[in-house]
């Protein structure tokens, strides 16, 4: 049963709102050329990171792909240091050397964003392996898009995780498109992508990735199983990205219609939670307005911090290639 506690639900909403507004400001900063390179926004998918990470302990591991701002923020990273990393500043999480796709926040056990599709999934099995090796009751959560699912590295990782009963939870964020290619033209088992994991003997299920409460509820159950040592788990979270694949392409474009995007926007994860709370009279417009003000301030401060921070010195170029 979903626990309808006002403060709890507002906290989930707040985290999703932080990601939403952070991403919107990131897009603006990209347009102003304050942020360069690749920028993949998480807008539309917030419920997955927030719902999943809400069910973890602070010492559990989280690892992600290149659309990683949402996971990092949901893990509790300082928005100022995340924005500074996007700006390439010395105060960024990775001193400006990682960028949008390679956020890392070790104290929060956020083990990184990785930008070779499928390539970080074996790393997740390794984090889980280390926990099992040391008899720690930690779980590792690995986020990736459905575009990674057909990759060989994903399959090798699934096989090893199942074979060695590793405490890892694979969360496939199925947003229906690998850049511009619809999943039905890329994944043989598109009708039920969780079947891919089941074929390796991994327990697998599908959850509505637009519904933060559904995601959290599924994850709480799954985390308990995996933490208890019952082996890996696979969750397909169905979702949709409201923006383009990256800032390099528009929200729709040639591969999907404006109507399709509009249709999915009706199930905006923030709107869904807000409607639930309003319908149950757990919060009113004033509460949400207050949250908007708060988050607006947080994001403004993050941008200000990033703007005012210095770039790394050229003398930092060679630092951290190897341990000094």
């Amino acid at each position: 049963m979903v626990n309808m506690d006002t403060a709890d639900l507002l906290s989930l909403y707040r985290q999703m709102l932080l990601i939403r507004r952070f991403e919107e400001r990131s897009a603006e900063m990209y347009a102003l050329a304050k942020i360069a390179g690749f920028l993949h926004l998480y807008i539309g998918e917030e419920a997955i990171a927030v719902g999943a990470i809400a069910s973890l302990r602070p010492d559990d591991y989280v690892i992600s792909a290149y659309r990683d701002h949402g996971h990092c923020l949901a893990r509790g990273s300082d928005p100022g240091r995340v924005m500074a990393e996007l700006f390439g500043k010395a105060t960024g999480l990775c001193k400006g050397k990682g960028g949008s796709m390679h956020l890392v926040d070790l104290p929060r056990r956020f083990m990184g964003g990785y930008a070779i599709v499928g390539g970080h999934i074996p790393l997740a099995t390794g984090l889980a392996f280390a926990n099992k090796y040391q008899s720690l009751d930690l779980v590792t959560v690995c986020f990736f898009g459905e575009g990674a699912l057909p990759s060989g590295q994903a399959h090798e990782a699934f096989n090893l995780a199942a074979l060695w009963k590793l405490p890892v939870i694979f969360i496939c964020e199925n947003n229906r498109y690998g850049m511009g290619t619809p999943a039905e033209r890329a994944i043989a088992l598109y009708g039920d992508v969780a079947e891919t994991a089941r074929s390796y003997g991994i327990a697998a299920e599908s959850v509505d990735g637009m519904d933060v409460l559904a995601v959290r509820s599924a994850m709480q159950r799954v985390v308990a199983q995996v933490r208890a040592g019952h082996g890996p788990w696979f969750i397909e979270a169905t979702t949709y990205r409201f923006m383009g694949h990256s800032m390099a392409d528009p929200a729709h474009g040639h591969y999907r219609t404006k109507e399709e995007v509009e249709e999915y926007r009706k199930r905006d994860p923030l709107t869904l939670l807000k409607s639930t709370m309003m319908a149950q009279k757990l919060a009113d417009e004033a509460d949400f307005k207050q949250l908007e003000r708060e988050i607006g301030e947080v994001v403004r401060a993050a941008v200000k911090f990033a703007e005012e921070s210095p770039f790394p010195a050229r003398s930092d170029l060679h630092a951290d290639v190897l341990q000094e």
């Binding site: 591991y61 960024g92 999480l93 990775c94 001193k95 400006g96 050397k97 990682g98 390679h102 890392v104 926040d105 070790l106 083990m111 990184g112 990785y114 070779i116 390539g119 970080h120 999934i121 074996p122 790393l123 997740a124 099995t125 390794g126 984090l127 889980a128 392996f129 280390a130 926990n131 090796y133 040391q134 060989g152 590295q153 090798e156 990782a157 096989n159 090893l160 074979l163 630092a319 951290d320 290639v321 190897l322 341990q323």
Partner: protein, 322 residues
């Protein structure tokens, strides 16, 4: 004590696994089969299946797993049945192991050893006879070691296992059975330090791994003709101990570099450039390279022999400078 190269590696890993619970061995057939080349003989009996781990034939998967385990604080030793299979794991090695410290701004470390035999043995064909050290040396964030003797193999493998960064440790199938004197008791050899394997004043030869044995043989033959070569084994290919090479070149004024890898963009090209840049004025002639031929390794013996540096070619290169 006299040990084979294989026994020296076995001792190095055994001592480090006894010393540090974080160290474990993972790879294809490393446990019950005792390693494709029996390097991990007796490990499963001493350390058990928790620390000596057979994998399916999925180099990308288990190398990636080892990198993840290293990020979480363990010190994995990945055995690749041959370095050729490292190509299958190259995405993990190059995109993850080598870059994770840098991309994370120094937050994460990957203390990992990836070891196995490189170079040709006898008639193993094109896919099992490659010398890929130049590929690994090209990538910032990796250290590359290729020892030739049992003593160096033991001391350097122990250092590699203790190193906080990813190390590619290249052995050779034809070296496993070779024997040599190994220092008794606990010792390590620092990474990045070359050794003068034979002193001479006429010509310097740089060679590593299996090629060192060939070059020492050539040095004996040349000595009988009155030519004294100085032989330097870098042992660590990256970071390269240029200082030791340059010091020798300043003495002899002549340099030959012998490597089994392909000619074009080979490691010798880099060593030559580094020597030209720092000691050009000391050279009495051009630097000569003796390398593998730029062909996929042929299977049949006469052509395979033709593709790999041999005694006549090394001797000819030295004499061409005199």
């Amino acid at each position: 004590m006299e040990l084979s190269y294989r026994e020296a590696l076995n001792q190095a890993m055994r001592e480090e696994m006894r010393r540090d619970q974080r160290v474990f061995l993972i790879g294809e057939d490393v446990a019950y089969y005792q390693g494709a080349f029996k390097v991990s003989k007796g490990f499963i009996e001493e350390f058990g299946p928790q620390r000596v781990i057979d994998t399916p034939i999925t180099e990308a998967g288990f190398t990636g797993l080892a990198i993840g385990a290293a990020m979480a604080g363990l010190h994995p030793i990945v055995e690749l049945m041959t370095m050729n299979f490292g190509i299958v794991a190259l995405d993990q090695i190059v995109n993850n192991a080598a870059k994770i410290r840098y991309m994370s701004g120094g937050q994460l470390s990957v203390p990992l050893v990836i070891r196995g035999p490189g170079s040709a043995a006898h008639q193993l064909g094109a896919q099992h006879s490659q010398s890929l050290e130049a590929w690994f040396c090209h990538v910032p964030g990796l250290k590359v070691i290729a020892p030739a003797t049992p003593h160096d193999a033991k001391g350097l493998l122990k250092s590699a296992i203790r190193d906080p960064d990813p190390v590619i440790f290249i052995e050779a199938q034809l070296l496993y059975g070779t024997k040599g004197e190994v220092q008794e008791g606990e010792f390590t050899i620092p990474i990045g330090v070359a050794e003068v394997k034979r002193t001479g004043q006429d010509v310097t030869i740089v060679a590593y791994s299996k090629m060192l044995l060939l070059v020492l043989e050539a040095a004996d033959a040349l000595s009988r003709e009155g030519v004294e070569v100085e032989v330097i084994d870098p042992r660590t290919l990256k970071p390269l101990d240029l200082q030791t090479i340059v010091a020798s070149v300043k003495k002899t004024g002549r340099l030959v570099i012998v490597e089994e890898g392909w000619y074009f963009c080979g490691l010798g090209a880099q060593i030559a450039e580094s020597v030209y840049a720092t000691a050009f004025d000391y050279l009495d002639g051009p630097i000569r390279r003796v390398t593998g031929e730029d062909v996929p390794m042929p299977y049949c013996r006469p052509l395979e022999d033709a593709a790999i540096p041999d005694l006549p070619r090394v001797i000819e290169a030295v004499k061409s400078l005199l």
